[in-house]
Symmetry: C2
Subunit: 408 residues, 2 copies
């Protein structure tokens, strides 16, 4: 099964190198394919690391490994396997992760805990250690690769390569952030794991990096949904090599703290939207902005209720200004809402206000907006100051075709 490129795809950006980061790719042949599927990233000594991982109660052994390694906050390497998620494989899966870390630690002369591992692909099949070891040996000897090659290598059924970059002035120096991500395009027999890797040459102490990444995550990766299903393996890691030579960022008072956090959040936002734009079967990118809720958390839950509603998503696929389904999704969120204070807009046009349809609203701009590829839905609850914005895609025949029209 081959997938056509998402109509919402954007071109791979020009991505600068990041000092202290060396990318290499190789063929481990985790599946019957002739493509690179193992990414090996070598990081300069002294690199710090932060991460956020899936909320799943059934995480992959890679996720558990990364969580343990993050406690130390130091990194020398990242290994990413594509084609086999190694999830739900018991002790054999754990052994595969340990073997990858041990081999790479021996190669670099570092601790196994300095080696981060992520895998994506089929569930329930232990990652074959022999293939991983041979792939690693090939990767160690491979020439340096560019961002695009690495972005393609971590992908599974992503329909296009995804990268993002930003710069910031920290301690008088320009620092670079470059990142790649793979997302939601997947075939048999598994699910759309999101793996994101962010690299910067800034010097950043690990606790500061973790706080900055967690804050950015709350407003970006945690605000996207394709189909409400959460992978066992979702992982975002941020690595800071320190090669820029700035005084390490360590707290709010550090020179450039705000600029770095803003740049990191910018990159995370770019990455998150790239994932939604490659949502399975997506034909429209939907931004849902909720305001007037009792709290930001309440606004977020209401926005996600709308974003995950199959009836809302199919209405957008049908270019149908079906605000009744948005009322429904607000109502089912379980959050404070008063029907008679609720207002809804598509694009810039109010279609319902104060619990009633806006009489004789102009349907032409609504219809024109819904025919576009980027749809904006606004909901005002009229209760308080809470607000949140989330992003999703529509639900089309393409989603069914990708996920139902095959046997594993």
């Amino acid at each position: 099964m081959s997938l056509s490129i998402s109509p919402l795809a954007t071109p791979f950006p020009a991505m600068p190198p990041v000092a202290g980061v060396t990318l290499r790719v190789a063929r481990a042949r985790y599946k019957e394919w002739d493509r690179c599927d193992l990414t090996f990233v070598e990081l300069a000594p002294g690199t710090t690391v932060a991460g956020v991982t899936t909320q799943s109660r059934c995480p992959s052994p890679e996720v558990e490994w990364c969580r343990q390694a993050l406690v130390l906050g130091e990194a020398r390497a990242l290994v990413v396997n594509a084609g086999n998620s190694n999830a739900f494989t018991g002790h054999r899966g754990r052994a595969a992760v340990e073997a990858i870390a041990a081999q790479t630690a021996a190669h670099l002369g570092c601790r196994p805990s300095d080696v981060f591992v992520a895998s994506t692909g089929v569930i329930g099949v232990p990652l074959p250690i022999d293939k991983a070891q041979a792939g690693l040996t090939a990767a160690y000897a491979a020439p340096a690769a560019d961002w695009r090659a690495a972005a393609e290598t971590i992908g599974t059924t992503d329909t296009y390569a995804k990268g993002a970059t930003a710069t910031a002035i920290v301690d008088g120096r320009s620092v670079t952030i470059a990142a790649i991500i793979k997302g939601s395009g997947m075939i048999a027999p598994d699910m759309a794991t999101m793996l994101g890797f962010i690299f910067t040459d800034a010097a950043v102490e690990a606790p500061f990096l973790q706080a900055a990444l967690s804050a950015a995550n709350t407003r970006t990766f945690s605000c996207i949904t394709v189909d409400s299903d959460t992978s066992t393996s979702d992982t975002v890691l941020a690595f800071a090599t320190g090669a820029a030579g700035n005084v390490p960022l360590s707290g709010d008072d550090s020179d450039g703290a705000d600029a770095f956090r803003a740049a990191l959040a910018d990159v995370c936002r770019q990455l998150a939207l790239l994932v939604v734009r490659d949502g399975e079967g997506a034909s429209k990118l939907i931004e849902i902005a909720v305001e007037g809720a009792e709290s930001d958390a309440s606004a977020h839950r209401i926005a996600m209720s709308i974003a995950n509603s199959p009836l809302v998503k199919t209405a957008i696929a049908g270019e149908d200004a079906n605000w009744g389904r948005i009322v429904m999704a607000v109502g089912k969120a379980g959050e404070p809402a008063e029907r008679d204070r609720l207002s809804i807009r598509f694009g810039a046009t109010q279609v319902a206000r104060g619990g009633l349809a806006v009489e004789d609203y102009d349907e032409a701009p609504v219809a024109a907006h819904l025919k576009g590829q980027e749809i904006a839905i606004g909901v005002d609850l009229g209760l308080g100051e809470g607000r949140a914005t989330v992003w999703t895609c529509d639900l089309t025949h393409g989603y069914i075709s990708i996920n139902a029209d095959y046997r594993s």
Copy 2:
């Protein structure tokens, strides 16, 4: 848009009359169609009533009306409108409900609060009072209808009429329960409202009836999902006319209390499954049984997480034994789960046990089971004694076609 009959449809059963219940149907012409769309049920004096309504925070004025009337626990009539849900219509919607109750109260010489009202159909358009009034006048004069006619009249885009019946021995007398329901088949621009109406000739005090209905609801209507979207108008009402002449059921010690509760739960379970069998685009009925959870409530939330997962539902549509997606859905439920204690079966075949795939399990019976119309998924968490069973349907191109391939 016309829908073909669900492949999971079952024949309308033989339904006995219930003493004290008179059904009549009429044409209110809420839409441009030539079919009956108003149901008027007259109930004998002394009829008691119980009900459960949507959890939506944006309920229809009908739901609010019924909630208020249920406090008194007495009923003389039920009016059901099909084609217009009257939801999200502000004071004009409230006025329409009040007009229906007032007219019917005058006709019967009862209190307006003895008149129950439910509506299903388009959201955001006030129910036209003139059409309702003319329809009611016609209904009052119409000949008595049978259960099937009433079941057809309350339907919207249901693809088949739905009824269920049971009997019980109460206080030495045979009492009858007969019920109709409409469910999830929908067209522009609204949602799949579930309206269920249960009638019995047993004498039942309202608090007992409410307790019995609420208990049955927890294990039936609350355990079904088509697409996770909750209507603004979901309503189930149970009416007991007392015509059977038994000593009224009033508590656990009443003669026949257990038999009546069991019969009521049986009817509710039949009705709930009829709704799932008419789920939009459904080609398979899926039963998900979770055991070994820390509590029944936890088991229910895990089962619903599986039932609402688009990836699980599309896998079943594709007849794919994709248990990795079930692991995913367990993991995302937010409930206690331990990956390495988890076991999963399709039909009678264990496919994963103790956090691992069962090596070399026999794929033939699994494949045969998945080709059938009724799919059983079993999950054992291995943690405790909590258990729950829920029902859903698969997610197919039909769902997308019904909900996206039109403009409202």
